[in-house]
Symmetry: C2
Amino acid sequence: MASDPLSITFAALADPTRRAILARLATGGEATVNELAEPFDISLQAVSKHLKVLKAAGLILRGSNAQYRPCRLESEPLDNAVEWIDRYRTVWKDRFDRLGDHLRLIQQQAADAAPTTAATTAQTTAQQEQPQ
Amino acid sequence: MASDPLSITFAALADPTRRAILARLATGGEATVNELAEPFDISLQAVSKHLKVLKAAGLILRGSNAQYRPCRLESEPLDNAVEWIDRYRTVWKDRFDRLGDHLRLIQQQAADAAPTTAATTAQTTAQQEQPQ
């Protein structure tokens, strides 16, 4: 597995339970492991394992209270993840927009040229149909 | 590995070579496997494997030309990934903003109360300092 910060962030987000934990922390604020484990049909140990992955990715911070150690969301890695995606998504969309503009220009040029072409075709046909 | 679409997208993004391939397709447009492999010090086979992961995640489309099969970026999974992150990032930032507002209010209330407290203290001190 890649060990650069962005890869670690994306890998941590690549699990529905971990995303649900982050969603819970974002909407409900700080929570203990027991509180976070409640909605899931998995063991406390499995939840702890997910929290370790999220903590290693810097996506959560854990309090120093030895007994409870509440977790809270840390948004900087999410900011970096969105920044990366947006950079290329924007470039790609701009490219599509430019392609769209170019296609519209070609269509417009074709439409502008069409009456002349139609007239020329009609004239040619008429000439061909004239009795020799 | 989780098999829901968002998890598959994030897992596909969790690799620097795959992100570099997407960046190349976003900035340079369609490219063949050979063109995509050029900047990397890895085998064509390894690049093909990465392309398979990106294709399975719906992040790239491959042309039907049997010989070249050019690849191009598909942005819908990226849109969904950003949408997910932004939803919770926004909630989390709003929470912090509200906390900030609340702290400022407390500080303001403390500041408003301070002169009275200082005056009372000064008065008390003055009373205590008066010769009995």
